[in-house]
């Protein structure tokens, strides 16, 4: 691969890296796992980059490769087996000694989202990123109707987790 390609890729990834971070946030629950997944998504993005034609936005293209890596390609590496899990949100709240109800609710919400399965997380992720059902269905490879049905089920499931 030539240097120019590498340079333009790194530049764009650096600019849009929060997308990758957000995928990692949903699919992992400790810092090591987060970095590990970030690394793998970066590799997959770089490998797919020569085929990126620019007919879609770089960021849109990142969603697809990022989610595909998190859901399908990524194999948890041995590097991080012994690390302790922590809840980032919980940590933040404790540090600032918040007792606000909205903060409390958010903390529970993030915890609930972490309990969803991989596909449900993908739906939530795309929803949070303000993607419409057309894009959700294209990213996951399901019909638009099914994407809506599934989204409603996910919402219901979240409600059940929050109010058992």
């Amino acid at each position: 691969m030539n240097k120019e390609l590498e340079h333009s890729f790194v530049e764009q990834l650096q600019k849009h890296q929060n997308i990758v971070h957000k995928v990692c946030r949903l699919y992992t629950n400790n810092a090591d796992a987060h970095n590990d997944l970030f690394q793998e998504i970066t590799i997959q993005l770089w490998r797919a980059y020569p085929k990126f034609r620019g007919d879609s936005k770089f960021s849109t293209w990142m969603y697809r490769v990022g989610l595909n890596t998190a859901i399908t390609l990524y194999r948890k590496s041995k590097r991080r087996i012994n690390t302790q899990e922590f809840d980032t949100v919980e940590f933040k709240i404790k540090a600032e000694e918040y007792d606000d109800t909205e903060e409390q609710q958010l903390k529970l919400l993030y915890k609930a989202v972490h309990q969803l399965n991989d596909i449900e997380k993908a739906l939530v992720f795309l929803y949070l990123e303000d993607k419409d059902y057309r894009e959700i269905s294209a990213t996951l490879g399901i019909s638009e109707v099914n994407a809506r049905v599934k989204m409603n089920r996910v919402k219901k499931k979240l409600r059940t987790i929050l109010n058992p």
Partner: protein
């Protein structure tokens, strides 16, 4: 307010600060080794190919006795046919494997990507089944060959009583069966562990269509 909308508000508010990687952090990442299941699957298929090729070739070079037997066995059209078939299958396997790896793309939809990986796994599976079937066939065939070519063995078999023959048959089937089951379990274990999550996620997407 909907729970998810509350989450969305926070999600997009930028409240969570992520570690920001600089260009110089990202460059080395591009050249690190991937730990994707496709890569593991690729290594397994190469190992598979190498194993069965070596299993076919090594005895030929290591044992002159075997070499001799093999050479005489080629005079038998059935053996020759089977050997040619196995080489054709190896070539076909390499071609199909190459094709299915080329089809795996991280820019496809999640479902398509999963399907292509599962297809690749199927190619490997059929190759394994073919090899196991060949082993299973070759055990009675080589006994039959030995019976025809080796006068001592021929004499021994003729002297066997019906009961002794039954025990011999039973024993051969049992040993071959146990061997095959163990190999099969071994494969199930490898692919089961590797593709457990993929299968679960694929089922989850597939379930929606019903």
């Amino acid at each position: 307010m909907d729970e998810l909308d509350l989450l969305k508000k926070d999600w997009n508010s930028g409240n969570t600060e992520f570690k920001s990687y600089s260009d110089s952090d990202i460059y080395p990442m591009l050249h690190k080794k991937s730990s994707s299941i496709v890569k593991t699957l690729f290594y397994i298929s190469i190992a598979e190919l190498a194993f069965w090729l070596l299993a076919g070739i090594l005895p030929y070079f290591l044992s002159s006795n075997f070499k001799e037997k093999l050479e005489t066995s080629y005079e038998n059209p059935l053996f020759l046919g089977l050997s040619i078939l196995s080489y054709i299958v190896i070539l076909l396997f390499i071609y199909l494997l190459f094709k299915s790896y080329k089809a795996i793309s991280s820019t496809d939809s999640a479902k398509k990507l999963m399907e292509n990986i599962l297809k690749t796994r199927k190619v490997i599976k059929y190759y394994v089944i073919f090899n196991l079937a060949m082993i299973f066939l070759s055990i009675p065939l080589s006994l039959y060959f030995e019976y025809n070519e080796n006068p001592e063995f021929h004499q021994q078999i003729i002297e066997f009583s019906t009961n002794q023959m039954l025990v011999l048959y039973g024993f051969i089937i049992l040993v071959a069966g146990i061997f095959l089951i163990l190999l099969w379990l071994f494969y199930r274990l490898i692919y089961g562990v590797l593709l457990k999550r993929l299968n679960r996620n694929y089922d989850e997407l597939k379930k929606l269509e019903v």
